[in-house]
């Protein structure tokens, strides 16, 4: 029976902007400070304090709007959203309801049926809340306002997604655009990107939307996928049993694979929005908009086109290199230094991607410099190190951005070009492995591989395998 249901999904994505200071005060947004160290009267709601808008927040928000094909609201205002909760020091959040900065946009994703547009209803600016830490020992909650007032944008999509795959594709698209803009690092695990999922189901073919629920606490793509599957099943089961879906907010517990209604009789969900009297309206002039537009980076599609023309790389390479702006910049800069784009591309696509995956890191976290990658490529080109040493050096470079030349020198990893020494070692290997020598001489070509390996081992990897192979054949 399940086949006859369609899932309808809309997303509310919160993104922490990469400003140095909070949205309404001069406190730092840096991570890792002692609790409440990054606070002042404004972001802790002291009586008499007043907010003043950080210009950069407006510019980032408008830039994200432009990148997602939104209309920019020329006269935009802030509103107060009133609700009591300890993470919110004023017990109202300064947000935007009536005149959000961006409206009516879309992004394109690759869906099963090809290109698909996901509508963006609006993007608004708001302040983040503080952090609540549950203290089991004292059975109380501790409040830290370091995150209170960190700028957020909330990107509200239309209910245009139909599957978890589309949701992930949409989130990845948003993340890429925003990272390209430099407006946020968009890390789900660290909470700088957070997605709430609005989901309803309906019988396939029905034009009417079902009752939706909102799922919170989703901090990985895996949790999002699981929550969508779980909620879809829960709602279908309710409908199959002749029951109704209740419109509510639910909290996803990814370890248990279940969601819970976040209901309380003290929670009226009536936010009494009204225009924030302490902030002035914002009028975005043509000049301001033109300046923000001029500051937009080269986005992925343009970059891909240029890479085809300029570097002549295969589409497969281009696809991977341009997934992150940081990766693309690393590619361009390294290529400019060493003039060998395909080799640079190979290092990034293969070794770099593999290490990122192993270490569960984002491309944004790559720390090695283009100069060092170029040096590594030069070392291999000059056959100063062989490919397995190169990989070893690269791993060290990946973790701590060492200078490969210096490292190879210090660790004595250079390939030996001394033919006399090589000959001596090979003679020893031949003497020590009579069986393999015999096999080879009897026509077992593969046996030479073992002997090459033994020689490389004896040379501690510092030999050129091709040279070893040639000399072995000669001596045998």
């Amino acid at each position: 029976m399940e086949k006859s249901y369609e899932t309808v999904i809309g997303l509310e994505v919160h993104v922490e902007l990469a400003t140095k200071t909070k949205i309404f005060c001069g406190c730092s947004t840096a991570f890792g400070a002692e609790p409440n160290a990054h606070t002042c009267p404004v972001c802790t709601g002291m009586p008499g304090s007043l907010p003043v808008l950080n210009r950069q927040v407006l510019e980032y928000a408008a830039a994200v709007g432009l990148a997602t094909n939104c209309e920019i609201t020329r006269e935009t205002k802030f509103d107060r959203k009133n609700y009591f909760y300890p993470d919110n020091p004023q017990n109202y959040q300064i947000s935007q309801l009536y005149l959000p900065i961006c409206r009516n946009g879309y992004v394109e994703i690759e869906a099963e049926e090809g290109h698909k547009k996901i509508g963006i209803h609006e993007i608004h600016m708001e302040e983040d809340a503080g952090k609540l830490i549950h203290d089991e020992w004292q059975d109380c909650t501790l409040v830290d306002y370091n995150r209170s007032g960190v700028p957020l944008i909330e990107i509200v999509s239309e209910p245009d997604m139909r599957s978890a795959e589309e949701v992930i594709a949409y989130l990845e698209k948003l993340r890429m655009l925003i990272q390209y803009l430099g407006a946020s690092d968009c890390k789900l695990q660290e909470g700088s990107m957070r997605a709430d999922v609005n989901l309803s189901v309906r019988e396939a073919g029905s034009g009417k939307l079902g009752t939706r629920t909102e799922m919170k606490n989703l901090n990985s793509f895996r949790a999002i996928t699981n929550a969508i599957e779980g909620e879809r099943e829960r709602q279908i089961a309710l409908l199959e049993a002749g029951e109704n879906v209740i419109q509510e907010t639910r909290r996803w517990d990814d370890t248990k694979g279940e969601s819970y209604a976040m209901r309380s009789k003290e929670d009226a969900q009536d936010y009494r929005y009204f225009p924030e009297p302490d902030l002035t309206p914002i009028v975005i002039s043509d000049e301001m908009l033109a300046r923000i537009r001029a500051g937009q980076p080269e986005f992925r599609e343009e970059k891909m086109e240029r890479y085809r023309k300029e570097y002549g790389l295969p589409d497969y390479d281009i696809d991977i290199l341009t997934q992150s702006r940081h990766m693309a910049e690393l590619f361009e800069q390294t290529s400019a230094i060493c003039g060998q784009p395909k080799k640079v591309s190979n290092w990034l696509m293969v070794q770099t991607m593999q290490l990122l995956k192993e270490k569960a890191m984002d491309a944004e976290d790559i720390c090695f410099s283009p100069e060092h990658l170029a040096k590594l490529i030069a070392l291999t080109d000059a056959k100063a190190i062989n490919s397995s040493v190169a990989k070893e050096v690269f791993e060290v470079m990946f973790t701590s951005d060492i200078d490969p030349e210096q490292y190879v020198e210090e660790k004595g990893l250079k390939t030996t070009n001394d033919a006399g020494e090589l000959k001596k070692v090979i003679e020893e290997v031949i003497a020590a492995n009579p069986q393999s020598v015999c096999d080879y001489r009897n026509g077992k070509e593969k046996a030479i591989g073992f002997l090459v390996g033994q020689t490389m081992k004896a040379m501690k990897g510092k030999a050129d395998p091709a040279a070893v192979n040639a000399m072995l054949k000669e001596l045998l």
Partner: protein
């Protein structure tokens, strides 16, 4: 010790010339406070030691020639909703009975920079919600002219302190008349500047779109001097205006020839007490004799200002006062079960009846289903009221009328019927809705000897016209 018979500016020059020291001025004020305070109760906090210490420090800076301003060394009282670092700031509420701010309000800082010596914090209606200073959690303030009467409010402590000589001038705040009305009831000068002229940073908000800080003083000259000291742009208040014309002392001359003054007929309707009407009309005559052109006209919409105001002010207040929740500062109830019980008990015990009344009303008019009908409607009416003033100022330089329909009522007469009390704000409230500057200047007393105030309202940025007319009137007036 003898009472020092000086105005603030007069005392400033006496200190500058060495006739009086800042310390002696503080001592005189403290002596006066000892004498009068038990009867009047103008202050919530008197900081004797601190004031003397500050006076000595200021005196040194005067002696060294560092401080030369008109108010250097002069003792000032500050309304208790203005934050003062290290000095408790209560808003006359149980909620903030022990609250010691960690920073000082911008306006107070500007006074300190001018060498003012803060004596203490004055009593007020709780969170500035009231017109009599009777809603204070720390007891009523009495009118120095007649202790059976209220001093007005909400800046009642400031007005009474100035009138009784318990300070040389004071700061107040005006959301719907809270400076002008007590000034009128206590026979002192009180001015609400154009919205945005004085930074609100550090003023504990009641109605953010309406609140403005201003002076209460013995005369118009002091008023201009204080306003000059506290006005000016502040980066910390987004609604603070960029103004160059804040040398208000330059407006103190008597030339009102040709000044067009409109008298709104609607301000002289049935509700107005006869003696108040006579005193105000007599004041108009004084200005007319000095060459002002006086004309009656119909302003319109006057009766709608009160419901419009109470909707907007209550809505903003309900939100502004949400931060008082027992978590970060201020009062927290002792016994509770869980978070919401803590919130509710803290707030129910910490706030007084009038504050709760306005929070309830404000929460209601913003709530789902009522926002359009009440809150947005009020914002539309506000636009109409602003327009009515714009039309009036196309014809007139100033508007002239009473500050309040009556003189100070007796203690205990007002609170029983809130709407009746709110009606007392009818002539002051629309000024706040339109963001305009206005002054209250004493213009006589009624048959019981209670002061009457004359109100002059200007277009936005036109404080100088107001001060000029008020000064001209003050120089000519003869009290019977």
């Amino acid at each position: 010790m003898e009472r020092l018979e000086y105005t603030a500016v007069g005392l400033g020059s006496a200190i500058k010339s060495g006739k009086v020291t800042a310390e002696a001025a503080v001592e005189a004020v403290l002596a006066r406070i000892k004498e009068k305070e038990s009867a009047l109760h103008c202050y919530v906090t008197v900081d004797e030691e601190g004031a003397l210490t500050r006076a000595r420090a200021v005196q040194k800076r005067i002696d060294s020639g560092e401080l030369t301003g008109a108010l250097a060394g002069v003792p000032v009282a500050v309304k208790d909703n203005l934050c003062t670092k290290g000095m408790r700031t209560t808003c006359s509420s149980r909620m903030l009975a022990g609250f010691v701010p960690t920073y000082t309000a911008h306006a107070v800082q500007k006074l300190e920079q001018a060498g003012a010596v803060i004596i203490g914090k004055t009593n007020m209606d709780e969170f500035a919600m009231g017109s009599t200073t009777e809603t204070s959690a720390f007891g009523v303030t009495r009118n120095p002219y007649n202790e059976a009467h209220v001093p007005g409010g909400s800046s009642g402590g400031s007005a009474a302190a100035v009138a009784a000589g318990e300070c040389f001038y004071a700061l107040g705040s005006d959301t719907g008349g809270s400076i002008r009305q007590p000034a009128s009831f206590c026979g002192v000068v009180g001015m609400k500047p154009t919205y945005g002229t004085v930074s609100r940073y550090g003023l504990i908000a009641y109605g953010s779109s309406l609140d403005q800080i201003g002076p209460l003083s013995q005369d118009v000259t002091d008023c201009a001097a204080v306003l000059t000291a506290i006005a000016g742009h502040d980066d910390k208040d987004s609604t603070s205006l960029q103004r160059e014309d804040t040398d208000f002392m330059s407006a103190l001359h008597e030339d009102v020839k040709g000044l067009r003054i409109g008298i709104p007929r609607d301000y002289f309707s049935d509700g107005l007490n006869g003696e108040v009407r006579e005193a105000v009309m007599a004041a108009a005559k004084v200005l007319e004799r000095k060459g002002a052109v006086i004309e009656e006209f119909s302003l319109g919409l006057v009766k709608y200002a009160i419901p419009c105001y109470y909707t907007i002010a209550a809505a903003e207040a309900s939100s502004n006062l949400e931060r008082f929740d027992g978590i970060k500062y201020g009062y927290r109830t002792t016994e509770f079960e869980g978070l919401h019980s803590m919130y509710k008990k803290t707030r129910s015990e910490g706030f007084g009846a009038e504050v709760k009344r306005r929070i309830m009303l404000g929460s209601f008019v913003l709530s789902s289903g009522y926002y359009d009908a009440y809150y947005l409607k009020a914002l539309r009416v506000k636009a109409l009221i602003k327009k009515a003033f714009d039309d009036a100022f196309a014809k007139y330089d100033l508007l002239l009328g009473p500050v309040a329909p009556t003189t100070a009522p007796k203690l205990g007469e007002s609170l029983a019927d809130p709407i009746q009390m709110y009606l007392g704000d009818i002539y002051t409230i629309s000024v706040n809705l339109a963001g305009l500057p206005a002054i209250s200047v004493p213009c006589g007393t009624d048959s019981r000897g209670l002061p009457i105030g004359l109100q002059l309202i200007g277009d936005c940025y036109q404080e100088k016209k107001i001060l000029c007319a008020a000064y001209a009137y003050e120089q000519q007036r003869v009290f019977e």
